[in-house]
Assembly symmetry: C2
Homo-oligomer: 189 residues x 2
């Protein structure tokens, strides 16, 4: 979304990032997470291991960085012509992507390498940016959307919490119920 | 809480668990997470490394197991005589414990060693058990509490999500606002 890249696109730094991220994604497929090492990634990316260590610190940070990049949305949320329909479509897609085994692994990796919380905050900002677009669109249609932080608390939070901590019975119907509770309240009566 | 222990208290297995968990907690304080190794833990706990590997698989699983144990509540939630007051007191305490740097590290560790999601589910069950006690108490007072899963979605989820992904501006006032939104809805208007 609108978030600034930390790396200038097209520069050497961006090329290194692209090569190293690509190597990690390929090797995760080929050898799996447990067997992955920094020298292996460096060899595949055709950089020196010290380039990787200098830039990412260690494998955990690198995996976290790759994960956050994978969690970045490719497109703006679909416009279905109304706030409720837009939120439902977004929530269902968000749930589908993140509740898959790779989606869940990326979420955990994003938290992992992340002692200062910066990568986790980037993930949350991606979701907030998408939801903001939906809420702005609703305002432009003269609908009265809830504030962003209410949507983060009552729609995004329960989806992510359940994906990570409480996956049983989490489905598209639950995502739609959360949208209804956000827009119609009161909750759970 | 009501949760069954996987290990019979007082048996050899329980003694090993206690010694190994204690060793991990001490060594986390003394040498930090990065320097911790299984042989170091085994030596401190006076067991063989193979005992640790056999039971926990690897260091990540062991750290995850220790984290979940640390997240287990010691006491039933305080009874303040009413649903709203009970939920507010519980939410404020939950937030205070988990948003500290060690609390956040334990939450992340619980997710970490956890490919099948079992440890994360245990964490969520601890919170659900505490909230269930509060809701049952409210029913016994002839109050009309929301269903457990609504409280998980709209009170527990946003607290945990914000602790992990969006810590800015998260404070006791936010916890109380979540309680109000759960009990009074509609949200965020």
């Amino acid at each position: 979304m609108a978030r600034k890249q930390m790396v200038r696109p097209g520069g050497r730094s961006a090329r290194v990032q692209e090569a190293v991220h690509g190597a990690v994604r390929e090797l995760l497929e080929e050898v799996g997470r447990e067997a992955l090492t920094v020298p292996m990634v460096a060899q595949r990316a055709a950089v020196t291991p010290s380039t990787v260590y200098r830039r990412w610190g260690d494998l955990r940070e690198l995996l976290s960085d790759v994960a956050v990049e994978r969690l970045r949305p490719d497109d703006a949320p679909e416009d279905r012509g109304g706030l409720r329909a837009d939120l439902e479509a977004w929530a269902e897609q968000f749930l589908e992507e993140l509740s898959s085994p790779p989606g869940r692994a990326y979420l955990r990796d994003a938290l992992l390498g992340d002692d200062d919380g910066a990568n986790a905050t980037r993930c949350s900002d991606y979701a907030a940016d998408q939801v903001t677009l939906i809420l702005d669109r609703a305002r432009a249609r003269s609908e009265r959307p809830p504030p962003l932080e209410a949507a983060m608390d009552h729609l995004v939070s329960p989806l992510v919490y359940r994906i990570l901590f409480r996956p049983t019975d989490l489905d598209a119907a639950h995502a739609r119920r959360l949208v209804a509770e956000l827009l119609d309240g009161p909750i759970g009566r």
